[in-house]
Amino acid sequence: MLIYILRRLALMVFVLWGVTLAAFLISHALPADPAAAALGNNAREAQLQEFRVRNGLDKSLPVQYGVYMGRLLTGDLGTSLRTQNSITADLKQFFPATLELTLGAVVFAVLIGLPLGILAALQHGKALDLLARIFALLGGATPVYWLAILALNVFHERLGWLPGPGRLDAYSLAPPVHSGLMTVDAVLARDPQVLVDGLRHLILPGLVLGAFSAALLTRMTRSALLEVLSQDYIRTARAKGLKGSRVIWRHALKNAALPLLTVFGSLFGSLLTGAVLTETIFSWPGIGSYATTSAISLDFPAVMGVTLVAGLAYSLVNLIVDLAYASFDPRISFS
């Protein structure tokens, strides 16, 4: 298995190199001047020229790419054209916020989608199945920005049950940053108020971001389980006199897990990199809103940094999912 993992990691290097090249070429294909984007409409020509020279934008594209790759090999993702911050430092700051939100969304998606899908399959054709199918349809079809504004309006503004945008209440200051995950940092700072506040702030954006995933998981769990439940070995297990719950958990679900694992992997990857709208509406300082601001302002190094992190996240999640297959299906081996 170790050799398999090393081979995959080596392949990942080529994938990420391809990602940098594609991102670089697409970014620079735009007919726009990043200096003008960074300095604004009023900037004078001398300022623009000075900016281009300072940031190496006056050099040819191959030279710029070479300089970028040279820095990347030393772990330096470059400097943001807009903020002049280190991209590595920016990503270290913004990625944990997205990771925390994604984990929250995944927890909600699994807690809702998996049991609902199982119950729908077991109650096939009954009222609960119908409800689950309606949920799967609505969850998959509802635009996230609409759901986010609706959730804020109902649960925050009108009912006052849950806090509004942001990771914390405006009146409580964030704890010192260690991990970047608000809840973990609150625990490290032994601050129960911030911990509770942080968890409460995760509920609405987590639910909104997780709604689509919950719907998809419901549908996939239901259909995978329905297929497995009609197999001969399930009938055999039942004929042997095994308890219903044992048949479901040990035989049916385990065999339905492979397609679910695939879906889960791609969902996690897309949640991690696609939370732009949720982050924007919930004022969540994550990598999605960072990517949007950077793309609009033609901040190429920042866009490339985000793209690289997204590529890395996808690759790692895929690797973990592939490795997890073996624990569910004994026929799969990495030798």
């Binding site: 735009l30 009023n42 945008p165 209440d169 009146y171 129960p192 924007t280």
Partner: protein
């Protein structure tokens, strides 16, 4: 222990032997109550701080640094004005007269090479506890000149300052020598801007890295003498300012100011209605109209110096080369309709290039909405069926109206007189790259002056040689250039006003612009907020605010 304390129920319960625990439900109840109490105590403390904390929600994503010498964005200026002092400043909404700030008085005397400005400083302290001295002022201005920041040109190109121009003969006197090419009144106007904010020189030097004059440190720290100091800036989340105990501008009521990043107007509305924020910074015109009906809210139409305009390429062979075609466009635009229906009244009608509120503004309205006259002018110019590319930005235009809505209205107005405007919407970076290359045929864009003086618009919009808006629209008019240059350096206020009258009339008649409107910036505040004011420069003095 006092005998009375020993007999209290709490003391007796804590003295209870461990083995004789209360029944489980009772223990659970007690523990739950203790946990609830522990969690509610900080909340109660936070609640008590609400009256002295002001929370603003808005799109503050333009903030990239808090260094006053580097910041050139709206949010940076807003914060720097509360973290730092300048030598002089504007008070309230009167942006025609500079007033004392760190300088209690100043004189302007002519010299052989130009003018000398001499400032006398008041007794003031930085948030670090050090006294503000003339040497700090000299250091602060010199660092901006040497750093070549985005706003350095204001000191180097407009005020014509260089290292050595500003000196400190004693701890409380600052002397500034400017050449004849710089107008002392414009220099004073520039000194109100955060680029001239005074930094604690010792603190900046202590944090200097590789000759950066402390810029990296000042990006997210403060070292000023303003009424507030920076507590922390969680980027893309919030900025927290705390009251500066050493400040001479005291903030008696507000002890903490928090700027919460909220990009969406709908989210700001939700947060303001729920009481989570006290001030909403970016309401759309429709939302503002609704807020005016809510007795718990106050809607403020705050001024700006922004102009939303159409730029017409007037170069040789271009669609708008003939001045009659440009005039036709000005007659074709229904400004009243735009302001009433699209902006919901959040705009002022103006047709000249100096914004209302600045000395030199010309409030004349020579163009009435007259499609018939526009058609006649186009026919006379032989352009009865004109088709042009109409470039517009994405997102919101000045005043918060979606750019595509505004463009659709203009397209419709122009169609009525026979001009077919083909809308091409693009992100600002693409749009301005094209505009800077003189390749925009017809463009819709906003413009704000770099400083609160008529020259902030006079030179870029009228002088082709300045390589700004007149140049981008390929409009070269030597008389306009000469008038703009003369007005810029004219010291006599009455003569200067006369020059700007001539200039604004000339550009309104012949120039490449059709001014659409001068927007208000809508700010919605909770009815409990008192003393909130925002001037056309975007300055808000947090120390003057209180909450009922």
């Amino acid at each position: 222990m006092h005998p009375a304390e020993a007999s209290t129920p709490l003391a007796s319960s804590t003295a209870r032997p461990l083995l004789s625990k209360p029944p489980l439900p009772s223990r659970l109840l007690r523990r739950s109550l203790a946990l609830a109490l522990a969690l509610s105590l900080p909340l109660a403390a936070a609640q008590s701080g609400r009256e002295s904390t002001l929370v603003l929600g808005g799109d503050f994503s333009d903030l990239i640094t808090l260094d006053p010498g580097v910041s050139y964005e709206f949010t940076g200026s807003l914060l720097a004005g509360n973290l730092y002092d300048t030598l002089v400043a504007y008070e309230g909404n009167d942006l025609t007269k500079v007033r004392p700030r760190l300088a209690t008085s100043w004189t302007v005397t002519p010299t052989a090479s130009g003018s000398r400005l001499t400032f006398k400083l008041r007794a003031a302290k930085f948030s670090t506890g050090r006294p503000v001295t003339a040497a700090d002022v000299v250091y602060s201005l010199n660092r901006v000149i040497q750093l070549k920041t985005p706003s350095s040109f204001l000191l180097t190109d407009v005020a014509n300052l260089k290292v050595g121009s500003v000196t400190a003969p004693d701890a409380k006197t600052v002397v500034m020598d400017i050449p004849k090419t710089a107008n002392p009144n414009i220099v004073l106007a520039l000194l109100t801007f955060n680029v001239a904010g005074v930094v604690d020189a010792a603190e900046a030097k202590a944090h200097e890295q590789s000759g950066d004059y402390g810029t990296a440190w000042l990006k997210d720290h403060s070292a000023g003498s303003g009424p507030f100091l920076l507590n922390r800036w969680d980027r893309s989340a919030q900025v927290a300012l705390d009251v500066n105990p050493s400040a001479w501008r005291k903030s008696p009521n507000i002890k903490r100011v928090i700027l919460r990043y909220m990009l969406e107007s709908a989210v700001q509305q939700s947060a303001l209605n729920s009481g989570e924020i006290d001030v909403a910074w970016d309401y759309t015109p429709d939302a503002f109209k609704t807020a005016l009906k809510n007795p718990k809210l106050k809607g403020l139409k705050t001024g700006t110096f922004q102009l939303q305009y159409l730029g017409m390429n007037s170069g040789k062979g271009a669609a708008f080369e003939d001045p009659r075609v440009r005039e036709a466009v000005r007659y074709a635009i229904d400004q009243d309709g735009i302001i009433k229906s699209l902006l919901q009244g959040l705009g002022r009608k103006t047709q000249t290039i100096i914004p209302i509120g600045l000395a030199g503004a010309n409030t004349a309205l020579p163009y009435s909405y007259d499609p018939a006259k526009a058609k006649a002018l186009l026919a006379a110019a032989g352009k009865s069926n004109l088709s042009v590319d109409f470039s517009i930005p994405t997102g919101s235009c000045a005043g918060g109206v979606p750019c595509q809505d505004l463009a659709a209205k203009i397209q419709s107005d122009l169609a009525k007189v026979g001009i077919k405007a083909n809308i091409k919407q693009m992100v600002s970076a693409d749009l301005y790259t094209m505009y800077r290359a003189q390749k925009a045929e017809l463009i819709m864009a906003p413009w704000s002056p770099d400083y609160a003086d008529a020259d902030g618009n006079g030179t870029p919009l009228a002088d082709f040689n300045a390589k700004s808006l007149a140049w981008r629209n390929v409009w070269q008019n030597d008389a306009a250039s000469k008038l703009a240059q003369s007005a810029a350096i004219e010291n006599d206020p009455a003569k200067r006003l006369g020059l700007y009258k001539q200039l604004t009339e000339l550009v309104a008649k012949d120039g490449p612009f059709a001014i659409l409107y001068q927007p208000y910036k809508p700010v919605v505040i909770s009815a409990s907020v008192v003393g909130f004011g925002r001037n056309a420069n975007g300055d808000v003095r947090f120390e003057k605010i209180s909450k009922k």
